[in-house]
Symmetry: C2
Subunit: 259 residues, 2 copies
C-alpha cells in the first residue's frame, strides 16, 4: 500500500509569513501523495476586529454567527487557502484548494443549539473523497480549509483537527495514512514548560498510564483522543510536533501508535 500524508498546520505557522513560506517550500518537496489541512489562526479574529464584529469564544471554541461564518469563509477558504496554493505553485507543487463543499467532500450537521448555541458550527457526518482521489491520482496536492457544508446549501465552520483526522480515516482504505499535527510545541511534553521533555512514543497502554499519573494536561486529552480515534479507524500512525518533524527525522516529536 502506498503511503499518504495528511498534514494539519495551525495558527502559529499561518500567522507568520516567513515561517509559512519556509514550511510550504518543505511541504512541496515531500515525496508521495499529501494533503494539507489548515485553520485560520489569528487572521479571522483580526478581520472581525477590523469590521467591529465581536469575537465570541465559549471554552475556547468560536461562536459562529452568520457574520462570523462569512469572515471564516473569506479568510480560510479565500485569503489563506488561495495564497497557500499560489505559493505552492511557485515551488512547482501543483495544488488545488478545497473547502468541504468542494467535491461534496465534508458533509456536516449544524451542531444542536442546546446546551450551547455555537451558531454555524458543523459536526462531520460523512466524508466523501471521490474527487480528492481523482486529483491525487493525477499528482495534484489538495489544500483543505476547515469548512464543511450540510448538503442543503449551508457552509459550516468545522474544527481543523477533526477535518484532518476524518480525511486521514477516509483515505485509510486505499493508503497507509500518516497523520501529522503541526503545532507550536515539539510534541507531547512530560513537563508542560520543558521543550526537552518530549515523549517520543505513546501507545494505548502508555496513554492510560500518562492520564492516570496526570502527566498529560487537560488541553492535550481531546487532541490525543482525536489521535487514538484516527488510529482505531485504520490510520497507521499520528505524529504531533513542530513542522520540522516532516523534514528532519532526527528532530524530536511524538509518535502515537496503537501498539
Amino acid at each position: 500500500m502506498k503511503t499518504l500524508k495528511v498534514i494539519k498546520i495551525g495558527g502559529n505557522i499561518i500567522n507568520n509569513e516567513v515561517d509559512l513560506l519556509s514550511f510550504l517550500k518543505g511541504f512541496s518537496n515531500l515525496i508521495g501523495p499529501k494533503i494539507l489541512v489548515h485553520g485560520g489562526g489569528k487572521l479571522a479574529s483580526n478581520l472581525s476586529n477590523k469590521m467591529n464584529i465581536p469575537v465570541q469564544l465559549i471554552d475556547g471554541r468560536r461562536v459562529t454567527n452568520a457574520e462570523t461564518l462569512d469572515i471564516i469563509t473569506m479568510v480560510y477558504a479565500g485569503k489563506i487557502n488561495k495564497n497557500i496554493v499560489a505559493k505552492l505553485q511557485s515551488f512547482g507543487c501543483n495544488s488545488v484548494g478545497f473547502s468541504g463543499a468542494d467535491g461534496n467532500t465534508i458533509i456536516a450537521n449544524k451542531r444542536p443549539e442546546t446546551p450551547i448555541n455555537y451558531g454555524f458550527a458543523g459536526d462531520i457526518v460523512k466524508v466523501n473523497i471521490d474527487v480528492l482521489k481523482i486529483l491525487i491520482n493525477n499528482d495534484i496536492t489538495n489544500i483543505f480549509s476547515a469548512i464543511s457544508h450540510d448538503k442543503k446549501g449551508q457552509l459550516l465552520n468545522t474544527n481543523a483537527d477533526t477535518v484532518a483526522s476524518e480525511l486521514a480515516i477516509a483515505f485509510s482504505n486505499d493508503y497507509k495514512v500518516e497523520l501529522y499535527y503541526c503545532f507550536e510545541k515539539k510534541g507531547v511534553l512530560k513537563r508542560m514548560n520543558d521543550e526537552n521533555s518530549v515523549i517520543k512514543k505513546i501507545n494505548n497502554k502508555k496513554y492510560i498510564e500518562l492520564k492516570k499519573s496526570n502527566i498529560i494536561n487537560e488541553g492535550m486529552i481531546p487532541k490525543l483522543d482525536n489521535c487514538f480515534y484516527a488510529l482505531d479507524h485504520n490510520v497507521s500512525k499520528v505524529c504531533i510536533g513542530q513542522p520540522t518533524m516532516l523534514f528532519d527525522h532526527h528532530s524530536n516529536f511524538t509518535t502515537i501508535q496503537k501498539l
Copy 2:
C-alpha cells in the same frame, strides 16, 4: 465534438441572493459540461467600505493595492465562490471552486505600472486546463473566481470577462464551446434604453456596420471585441443577455457568430 458551455455571471446576479439561487438552480439543471465564471459585484466594495479601505477606480477599473487584493481574494474566492459551490451541491450539481492559482490554471503577468499603476492587476499570458479537463471528465462542474497568479507566488486581480473568454478559447481544441455573458440587459440593444430593441444576431459584417453607424455605444465595444476575439480563436458562438437566455430559448438575447 461535445458542446461545453462557459457561463459568466456579473454583479447584478451575485448582488441579489434570490436571483442567484434561482440562477444556480437553473444552472445545475443544464445538460452537458459547463463552467461558471463569476466576479464579485458590489460585495468587494462593500467590504472595503466596512474596513475603511478606499475603493479607487480609474476608467471603471479597480486599482488593486495589497489590501484590496486581500479583499478580492476573500470575497471572490472565499465568500462568493464557496457559497455558490455549497448551493450547487444542494441542487445535486457536484462542483469544485477554483481560482486561477488552483491547478495552475490561469497564469498572468502583473500589469506594467506605466502609464497607469493598477496595482496587483493581472494580464493573462497562459491558460492551462489540464486539471479542469480531469474534473470535467469526471462530471465535476467548475466554478471559477476571476483571480489569476503569476506562478511566482503572487495572486492577481483579473477581469472576469477575460477569464471567461480565455477559458472558452482554451477548451476549443477539445469541445464545441459556447460562451455566455450574463448581464443586466437583454442583449446588445439598438437603442440604449429600449429593452425591446435587442439585436438578435451580430456577425463580423454587421459589427462593422453597427460601429460605423454609432449604434453600438462605447461601453459595449470592448465587450464585443472580447467576443470576436473568442470567435477568432475557435469558440463556436458567444451569447450576451440575461441569464434566462440559458434556460429559455424563446427569450431575447444577442448571439454573436463570425458568419
